[in-house]
Structures are given as structure tokens and as C-alpha cells.
Amino acid sequence: MSVTYKSSPSAYFTLGDDIHDTKAPAGPVEKKWATRKFEAKLVNPANRRKLTIIIVGTGLGGAAAGATLGEAGYNVHNFCFQDTPRRAHSIAAQGGINAAKNYRNDNDSVYRLFYDTIKGGDYRARETNVYRLAEVSTQIIDQCVAQGVPFAREYGGLLDTRSFGGVQVQRTFYARGQTGQQLLIGAYQALERQVAAGTVTMHARHEMLELIIHKGRARGIVTRDLISGEIEAWYADAVVLATGGYGNVFFLSTSAMGSNVTASMRAHRKGAYFGNPCYTQIHPTCIPVTGEHQSKLTLMSESLRNDGRIWVPKDPADAEKDPRKIPEEDRDYYLERIYPSFGNLVPRDIASRQAKYMCDDGRGVGPLVTEVTQEGVEQQRRRGVYLDFAEAIGRMGKKAVETKYGNLFDMYAQITGEDPYETPMRIYPAVHYVMGGLWVDYDLMSSITGMYVLGEANFSDHGANRLGASALMQGLSDGYFVLPNTINDYLAAGPFEKIDESTPEVIDAVNDAFDRIDKLLAVDGTRTVDSFHRELGSIMWEYCGMDRTEEGLMIAIDKIRALREEFWTNVKVCGTNEDFNQTLERAGRVVDFMDLGELMCIDALHRRESCGGHFRRESQTEDGEALRHDDEFAYVAAWEFTGDGQKPVLHREPLKYEAIELKQRSYK
């Protein structure tokens, strides 16, 4: 399919030098991690307590790293904005965690998990990192079981597993629909054990506002105490960001309300490259929006797709009918029809986009919502499709369905006031996860020396689309097993030169934090912070959501720039800095979301191909599937910040596939 492009890329960015990961050793992919661990420089156990590590975030990545580095004997300072480390949003992950244990004897292996993750990521992930992820996956399960994570078990006392979106083996370990909660509590307990042991100092209700760089190395952070407003500088030999994803740039997402991109953007402004910011995962099974007041969206585990069947009426006129009264022949089980071999278990991006198309086509269900199209036309559409368990209840019995999915059904009933055992659920896609994040090398070090990035906050393992049950795996892999075996290579050269409050770089960072707060409080306009955030979110959802176009993205960039201008002249932030001030917290986060939103649109604009969660309308096959352009875009886009109002610089990291052959993804 030929494509005509209208924009000139030079209007939005400039091209810099290519970059490369220099840390993954040569040799076959199966040997790289063992080789790297052997070649990494070590820190003598007696010297570790002289080395300070700051970790920002206490989700799976941050808590696991904090606990493990504390156990190793380093002096760890861990920060989170919540009231306790146990709140981090990893806790909300429902479905499960993958591991290549092959307990089911169903052809699974490290290599297959590696292959599935690369393929699921639509060949836009770095091969070396993904292989390592699959390799350490088995150790994660061992570790969690030893910590007392109550995974689901069979009657023989051994672990149960299930299959999960996009794969054909049963490698997903789970704890009912609360796997993330159980894994996070496991990591939290390990972290608290180290707090008690004195190796980890916990700083809850502290938000990172600036990174301190001294002589080219990340050496500390500036935080705001969210209770007193006190601005403090903290010093360390290395800084680790484990600050999660930035889905809240869309305002409505399945992220926690507090999830934000501030730490990442503050680091980005000081030299950390941002990798593939436009790669967003839209999750197909969320509860639809009910109205203007909506503050967040709730996901229901896609494990529901194992037994539930997704359909819409064939005739738009049936949209308001009681779904139970619509006969089989008038229903379109569209995923089973289009993708007969994967059916309802196609990857998330495909399931989401198809739901959107069904609704665009006028065959959606649920209440009519007014929306403005990319072309600026106001229209009314129903934004929902049915997820039906009638067949499963008939086949397995209500009791079995209740055992497997009871908590999800209860949650649906509580939020919508409808009983999913009686009537099909309504679902619609929502922003759920971001594959993009700060660029890191094989050691998880960013482009700032001495600053590491873990979990969802980095870009490394999921390419353009993440497979179900792989986020928990990556967070714990990075925190328990990868970072604790790579950070020593850097710290072996420490402790580094002492810095304190008189060091110019520290003074500057503290002043920058104060300046921004003063500026926010000084505007005293007439619009609330949330109203700006909502508007940003609707721009992003419309133009940089499931379906993106050249023209739409350019409109979005203009709109975001105008919104930013209005924000700085018209935002209203009540109260003072020296207080518990949630409006001020949110205002600071929205500033960074606006900058990120623009960068995401530029990234989406420059990537003139469709891949994974990034679907460009101009780049599709004859049957409407995502069409990659490996000749031009088989690279990681790593963006360098050059100044406010300046064009960012694009650095490309070419993706080398040595173990796996690039193929056009097909789930038909």
C-alpha cells in the first residue's frame, strides 16, 4: 500500500547520531547474561555499606531492588509518594506472571518465552534484554514462593498455571485475580525486613522533583516532603528510578491516580534519553466510561477472555435490545470470525482495535456518548462490546465460573450496578500500560552515567506491545535479579567524590525545584489543574490513541502547545508550598505530562509504520492489519531533550536480530 506523507520531519525534530547498547557481551544469546555477570566488576561485601543507592519508587521493580540491594549490604534510600511502600500500583495487576517453568509439559521453554515476547512486541524489542527476561523468569517464581506468595495451587500441592492472551502454552502463575497484589506484598515485606535490619531507609510521602548530576554522574535527587512541603537534597553514588508508567498522560487510564512521569521527565531534561514514548498499550477489557466526572478506568483481567466470548450485534438496530434476547445468528463474534486460530485470545492491541472498529461501525453497545472525531465532526457513538459468559456458565457451571472469576464479576457489579452472571458485561479498551520509557542499556543504565531505570519506567523489554502477564515478570526480573548483578559494575569505582549543599549542581537543582513551585503558585488563574489534565487526556486519546494519522498528530502537537501556554497563564493552584497540598502535587505532574504528550506525538509522527500498539492508519495491510516497515524502522527511537521550545534530537538504536528472524506478525 503506498502512502503519501504531508509533514516534513525537520519541522519537529533533528536527527542525531545512532546509539548502541555497549554492555551486552558478544556470543550466542543464551550465554550473554552469564558472561555479563562474570565480566561485571564486583564490590567487596565489606565496602558495600559505604556505597549509597537512591531508589525512587516501591513497586515491583523498586521494592525488589531495595530489598535485594539492602540484603547485599548497600546503604539504600527508598522513596515513594504514597503513605507506605505497599501502595505502589503494581498491586493492581490482576492476571498473573509468566515463567518458563514448563510445569505443564506443553513445549514451553526459555527460548519459547523469549520468542513469544519478541513476537508479541512486534519485533521492536531488544533481543538481548528479552532473552535474559525469559531466562530469569523461573527464578522469580522460586523466589516468590519462598517469600510466601500464595500462588494458586493444585490439589497435589503444586502450582497451578493458566494460559494468557496471545500465547498457546500455560505458563502463567497466578493468585486468583490479585497476582500483582500478592507479588507486591511479597516484595514489600522483603523491603520492610531490610528497613528493620537498617540497610534500607524508607522515605514515604516524598516526591522526586529534580535529579542531581555532578561531574557527569547521577549523584542524588531533590524531593518535596508531601506533608510539610520541605524541599530536600539527597546524595548517593547511584540513582535508580523505578517510577512506573505514564499512562495518566491520557488522564483516563487504568493507572493509579498518582502515577506520573515527573521523575522520568526531570531526568529526561537532564540528559536521559526517552525511548519509544509513543508505544502505549490499550487494554481491551476495561469497564466503559460513564460520564464527565470519570476519574479513572477499571481494568478487568484479560483472563476473562479465556472463557468469555466477545461479540456485538450484527445489526446496529439491536444495540439497545436486551443482549440475552438477541439470537445467536444475529451476533457477530468478531474476534472468532476474523482470527479463527486465536479467537478471543488475540494480543491486546488487536483485540482493542477491533473493538474500536466495531463501535466506529455503529455496532457498539451501551449508552450513546458524544464525541468529536479527528476530522472535527461531532457524532454520537456507543462505546462498548459484550463480553459474554453465558456459554461458559452453561459449560462449566456457575460455581466454576465463580471460583475462577468471582472477584472480577463482583468488581464489575459494584462499579456498574449490573449482574454479570445474568447479563453480558460491557467492555471497552482503555490505556493500560506504556512500553515506552527511559532508554537503558543491557545493564539498565540510562544515558546518564550512574542512573538506572527499572520496570515500566524503562523501555527495554516489550517492544511495541507487551504480552499479558509479562509486566510483573519484568518488574521483578529487573529488581531482584538484573540490577543487583549489574549496578556493582558501576559502583566498583565508588564511593565517588563527596557532594553537599554547597556544591553548585546541588544548589541549582534545589533552586530549580523551588522556582517551578513558585511559578505554579504565582499564576493564580481561573482554570483548575484537573481541567487542563482532562483536556490533555482527550487530545492524546483522540489523536495519539488506538488509531493515529499524520495529520491528526500534527493537530495534537499544536493543541498541546496551545494548552501549555494557557496553563502557564491561567491555572489555579490553591494554598502554599509549606503544607500538605495535593493540588500543587498534581499541577507539577501535569506540567510534565504536557511535555511528555508532545514528545509522544512527535515520536508517533516520525514512526511512519504500524507496529504493536502503535497503529498508523496510513500503514496497514489490505486486510487492515498493522504493517511494519522493517527496512526503515527496525530501531529504538531514543529522544534527547535540547531545551524548552527546542526540537528534540532523535538517536536511533538499530535493532539487531541474531537469534530470531523478523517476520510480519500474524494471528490469523
Binding site: Q139, D142, A256, K296, F580
Partner: protein, 258 residues
């Protein structure tokens, strides 16, 4: 619908607080309780009044960060047909013209930070005392080397679902944190991996519970009735049995880290 709100306002932990009344005329029954408070805060901001401070994060009932006393019951249990967190309580549980009283958790071990926000770090300190299994990363045996009987593993899971919100303490006339503490004791006591430290753990955690100012348990049961995760009162029985057993034995010295 139209709602009258009476909300506890307190500038900081040392200030004297009091109830203040607000009217809200644009409440929809599809709103969650916290979305209703968001709407109030938008109005207050535009009227140049300071918004009401309240804790929230996931808004899907799992992180445990939110929690206020609504009409006298933690998480609005008297208004909800089912156990719930504050964020999962929806306005369809109320009707036009209702007067709703909103207060923070009021108990000595959770001091008020501001308005409806409290400090629950005492819970972290109970966990620090022994709410874990001492296993360093990397030292775990193969997961299937130790089978765990399904019924006990399920029992462990049922109490491991505690979200640490603190509703149990807020509901208890004695301000006891026993339901929270016993949930962790019962979780780890029902797994083979939890056995080696079982008796030390219960002693250390109960001691930390008392040191942090929580009151004693008198089996009132208010805690379990407001628990959004249905942690059963029997878990306190398990704690008591384990504690009694530990007092009759002199296993080891202090628990790791304490």
C-alpha cells in the same frame, strides 16, 4: 442528585479540627464516592477555597490508600450493601437530599495529617517486626520442591488479601490493630515456608502492635464487619493460638532485623 456534606477539616496534625458543611447539587449516581469529592474540590478551587485533603491512589479497591469514616462507618459500610473500600463505594448507594458525614480514621495510632488524611506508618512498623519470611534474593529452592496443601494455601491467600487500609482499627472501640496483625500471622502460618519463623513472628508482631499504641482485642468484631477484603475474625483466633504456643516455647532469640 443534591447532597449535603459535613466534612472534618483540620489544617494539620496539631490544629484543632471541626466539621464543615458543603452543598453539592450536581452528583450523579454513577460517580464513585471519591469522584463526588473530586467534584466538590473543583467547586472549592474555583471559589478560592482550599480543597479537602483526602488520600487515594488506585481507585479500584486494592491499594488500601483511601479510607474515610462515612456516616459513622469506615468505608461507608452502613451505606453499602456489600463490603467495600471508599473508592469503590458508588453514589447510587445514596439518595437525593441525603446528608453525609465524612471524617478521618479517628484512632490514636493513626494521627491526622490534614483533613481526612491520616498517618498509618504504624502498620509498616508491625510488618517490620516480623511480617515476612527471611529469604534473601537468589537463595530460594525450586518452587516445586516444597508442596503446599491446597486448602491451607487457599486459607493463606484469603487473609493475604488484606490491603492495610486501617478500617479495622478505625472501627474498633479499642483502636486495636489485631485483625491486620492476625491477617499476616495467618497468611504466613498456613504456608510451609512460614513455619521456621512462625513462633518468633507472632511474638514480635504482637509486641510491635502494642508498642505502636494499638489497643487490645476484646472480640467485638466491628473490624471484620467493615473489612473490605472480608478478613475473618477467626484469624485473630489463629494469632492467639500461635501466640500462646510461642509463649510455651523458647524458640531462638529475637527475629532477624529486630
Amino acid at each position: 442528585m443534591k447532597i449535603t456534606l459535613k466534612i472534618w477539616r483540620q489544617a494539620n496534625k496539631d490544629a484543632v479540627g471541626g466539621m464543615k458543611t458543603y452543598q453539592l447539587d450536581d452528583v450523579s449516581e454513577d460517580m464513585s464516592f471519591l469522584e463526588m469529592l473530586d467534584v466538590l474540590n473543583e467547586h472549592l478551587t474555583l471559589a478560592n477555597e482550599e480543597p479537602v485533603a483526602f488520600d487515594y491512589d488506585c481507585r479500584e479497591g486494592i491499594c488500601g490508600m483511601c479510607g474515610v469514616v462515612i456516616n459513622g462507618a469506615p468505608h461507608g459500610r452502613y451505606n453499602s450493601p456489600i463490603p467495600t473500600t471508599t473508592c469503590q463505594l458508588h453514589m447510587r448507594c445514596f439518595k437525593d437530599g441525603d446528608v453525609i458525614e465524612i471524617e478521618p480514621w479517628k484512632t490514636g495510632s493513626f494521627p491526622v495529617v490534614k483533613d481526612l488524611v491520616v498517618d498509618r506508618s504504624a502498620f509498616d512498623r508491625i510488618i517490620q517486626a516480623g511480617g515476612f519470611i527471611s529469604v534473601n534474593t537468589g537463595s530460594a529452592p525450586e518452587a516445586h520442591s516444597v508442596p503446599a496443601p491446597k486448602r491451607q494455601a487457599d486459607r493463606a491467600f484469603d487473609v493475604a488479601t488484606c490491603i492495610g487500609c486501617g478500617a479495622c482499627v478505625a472501627a474498633c472501640p479499642n483502636g486495636s490493630g489485631m485483625l491486620f496483625t492476625s491477617a499476616k500471622i495467618t497468611h504466613l502460618a498456613n504456608l510451609p515456608q512460614g513455619q521456621p519463623e512462625r513462633r518468633l513472628r507472632v511474638k514480635a508482631m504482637v509486641a510491635a502492635h502494642d508498642e505502636n499504641g494499638f489497643g487490645g482485642c476484646q472480640n467485638v468484631g466491628e473490624c471484620a464487619s467493615v473489612c473490605p477484603k472480608l478478613i475473618p475474625l477467626e484469624s485473630i483466633g489463629q494469632l492467639n493460638r500461635d501466640l500462646f504456643a510461642s509463649l510455651l516455647r523458647g524458640d531462638g532469640k529475637a527475629i532477624a532485623g529486630s
